[in-house]
């Protein structure tokens, strides 16, 4: 019998029952909740007179539309200026209290973007099934777990039954082999992957990211890669467990301790694909081919290396794709064949569940140190992923580096990644953003998003246009 993939193992371990039509009832170990996709689910429970199946698997925190402005945050939930946002955050608080769900509320030091908070607290662990009403739940696959986003009806289903009815996905493995060149980060790796396989390349698959380049990444880097699995169409992305994984969870608040830790770690070490496992699809890419990536269009597959150019529609053979390129260039206000480095920025955003962890902030601060934000850049902001990331960054003096350069240092939340709060782009403005989506209007009505790594975003803020981070000299003017 052929061996099992990591995904096969996680699926089998959580199968409660199978149905004749090929679907299965899958047990959910951890359920994360936030204010945007949960109110209708709690309301559904209430209307049906149902209670949560169990409470100790749920963890909630408001993140999508909380303000990142210190003064507004200090005024508490009652001080949220946008009335509809205030109602939504209040509703989460009320629902968590009424149903007994553990919540890190808005001004708790542990609050933050749900996908930063989960791993940081050890609330999401290797080997678990993890869901959340948010497509970037794939982030948690970085630790060797099965994690995917769900809709609000499924949020209600998990609350009521602790299970989901699922059809097994197909197995895909993407191997990135070789050493990443200096300056090339996890973000460049995942943008490059999406550029290669397309935004629907992973549809119907669970993707295991593997290969020596992936294994060389820290846990934070692996989270960045898995976070954007959904941008390649895959609900779930994952990386096999190794010692980097296990080391990361040692001492985390909700992680097992003592003898239980040893038992857990022994189990976690089995969470790798067997050598003789077969995949329905395999893609092999070379790390040496990856240069710093910049998205130029309105879909995450529309990326180019920083030394490259904006594409020319006349070189695109497929008619459907050509129409897409023409429309994207028009929306983005870019010229065909324009060098990527000539794109000028109005705003810079460093944050989001893709790139707001301590390692991301350190990378950006290293670039910024000793420089100032270009006068042509209207706003450059850093939004830490959680209260604990913010605290750590401040202990290391990173906030001082950012402030000295002219960056704004904000309170944790999703912020300008999806512009549900006051942080947004104006019409026609170009933004270097460390977030995950460059869809039309994503960061504000008419806003133009360029997805990049934290170091690339930081350098763009200093120069006012994109520059190749590989040529950056730290501390030089």
């Amino acid at each position: 019998m052929a061996g099992k993939t990591l995904y096969d193992k996680l699926w089998d371990a959580h199968k409660v029952s199978e149905r004749e039509d090929g679907t299965a009832l899958i047990y959910i170990d951890r359920h994360l909740l936030h204010e945007v996709t949960s109110p209708q689910a709690f309301e559904g429970l209430r209307l049906a007179g149902r209670k949560p199946w169990r409470l100790d698997t749920n963890l909630a925190t408001p993140d999508h539309n909380v303000s990142t402005d210190l003064a507004e945050r200090q005024a508490g939930v009652a001080g949220i200026r946008d009335e509809i946002s205030r109602i939504q955050v209040t509703t989460l608080d009320d629902n968590c209290t009424a149903f007994g769900v553990r919540e890190f509320s808005m001004n708790d030091i542990n609050q933050g973007i749900v996908h930063v908070v989960g791993p940081e607290q050890g609330a999401t662990l290797p080997g678990m099934t993890i869901v959340c009403g948010d497509s970037h739940t794939s982030t948690h696959g970085a630790m060797g777990s099965l994690a995917f986003g769900i809709g609000t009806s499924e949020v209600e289903h998990v609350l009521a039954t602790q299970c989901l009815i699922q059809r097994k996905m197909k197995n895909m493995r993407i191997r990135v082999e070789g050493d990443l060149a200096p300056g090339i980060t996890a973000k460049d790796v995942v943008l490059y992957i999406i550029g290669q396989i397309g935004t629907a390349g992973g549809t119907g698959y669970a993707i295991e990211f593997a290969g020596s380049a992936l294994q060389s990444l820290s846990m934070e880097g692996r989270m960045t890669v898995c976070n954007m699995a959904i941008e390649a169409g895959a609900r779930a992305g994952m990386v096999a467990v190794d010692e980097t994984t296990i080391e990361y969870f040692k001492g985390r608040p909700f992680a097992p301790k003592g003898e239980m830790w040893d038992r857990a770690a022994d189990y976690w070490r089995t969470l790798v694909s067997d050598e003789d496992a077969t995949f329905d699809k395999e893609v092999v890419l070379q790390a040496a081919d990856i240069e710093p990536q910049v998205s130029w269009g309105t879909s995450p597959e529309m990326v180019a290396g920083v030394s490259g150019k904006v594409p020319n529609p006349s070189n695109v053979a497929d008619e459907d794709s050509r129409k897409g390129v023409v429309r994207a260039l028009e929306y983005m206000g870019l010229q065909a064949d324009q060098p990527i480095e000539s794109i000028r920025l109005d705003r810079v955003f460093i944050g989001s569940c893709t790139n707001s962890r301590i390692e991301d902030l350190r990378a950006a601060a290293a670039v910024v140190k000793g420089h100032s934000v270009a006068s042509s850049v209207k706003q450059a902001m850093v939004v830490p992923g959680s209260g604990l990331v913010k605290q750590q960054a401040e202990a290391e003096g990173l906030d001082a580096i950012f402030r000295a350069a002219g960056f704004q240092w904000r309170e944790p939340g999703c912020s300008m990644c999806l512009a549900m709060n006051a942080d947004k782009l104006g019409q026609g403005e170009h933004c270097a953003s460390t977030s995950n989506r460059n869809f039309e209007g994503r960061q504000g009505f008419g806003g133009r998003t360029h997805l990049v790594s934290p170091a690339m975003a930081a350098a763009a803020a200093i120069k006012g246009h994109f520059v190749d981070i590989r040529t950056w000299q730290e501390g030089a003017a």
Partner: protein
């Protein structure tokens, strides 16, 4: 949930690939804590010429005359004809809520994003995958025939054209059953409560660290 058996409805075209959920319903409308009322803001950024905000009187906003759904010939459409990878992006169920609230009962495309596809079934909305060449033919037929209607027969899994052509489509048996009967799948899952409890008892022995830690 509204049961779905057979629907004969006007077809409206959405001739773009990779229509994402931000386009289907922009983020500012996700602040609602209700499930209904999203229809007037479906495709808001391409449907209107101004920037929409919750609470606006949408009937007074300037419409984009080039957007298909604004053309009188597509008023009252129940079937949306779309291109590949429809519904990519976020997991927001507000996307199918908006389509359903607008009046759509079915969406036909060569492919759908996984989460969106799944969310549709929870809301009485049927996503139908047809081959590229058939979708191309349907786009041509819709463009050349005012009032073009399709019949969606879920029981027999067929899309039937006015000319009498019938195209078969696939749908999972359980989802089909729930859709035809308008069933709430939570109730069905709870029929397996004993199996869920048995699973928990076994897993609490095997992986005790997973249980009981978030309090």
């Amino acid at each position: 949930m509204k049961p779905f058996t057979t629907v004969t409805g006007l077809v409206a075209p959405m001739d773009r690939s990779n229509v994402d959920t931000d386009m289907i319903i922009p983020k500012q409308f996700l602040k609602s804590i209700k499930r209904s009322g999203f229809g007037p803001n479906l495709f808001d950024e391409v449907r209107y010429l101004d920037e929409g905000q919750p609470g606006m009187d949408n009937s007074k906003r300037p419409l984009n005359p080039d957007f298909e759904l604004n053309k009188p010939r597509y008023a009252g459409a129940q079937v949306l004809l779309a291109r590949k990878n429809f519904g990519c992006g976020s997991s927001r169920e507000h996307a199918p809520w908006a389509l359903e609230d607008y009046g759509f009962r079915a969406i036909i495309a060569p492919s759908f994003a996984d989460i969106f596809y799944n969310n549709c079934f929870k809301n009485g909305l049927l996503p139908i995958v047809l081959a590229d060449d058939i979708v191309d033919r349907l786009f041509d037929a819709v463009a050349s025939t005012e009032g073009y209607k399709l019949t969606i027969d879920l029981e027999n899994q067929k899309v039937v054209t006015p000319e009498g052509d019938a195209f078969d489509f696939e749908v999972n048996a359980f989802r089909k059953h729930c859709l035809i009967n308008g069933l709430d799948d939570i109730g069905l899952t709870l029929q397996d409560a004993d199996a869920i409890r048995a699973y928990e008892t076994r897993r609490e022995q095997e992986t005790p660290w997973v249980f009981g830690h978030i309090r």
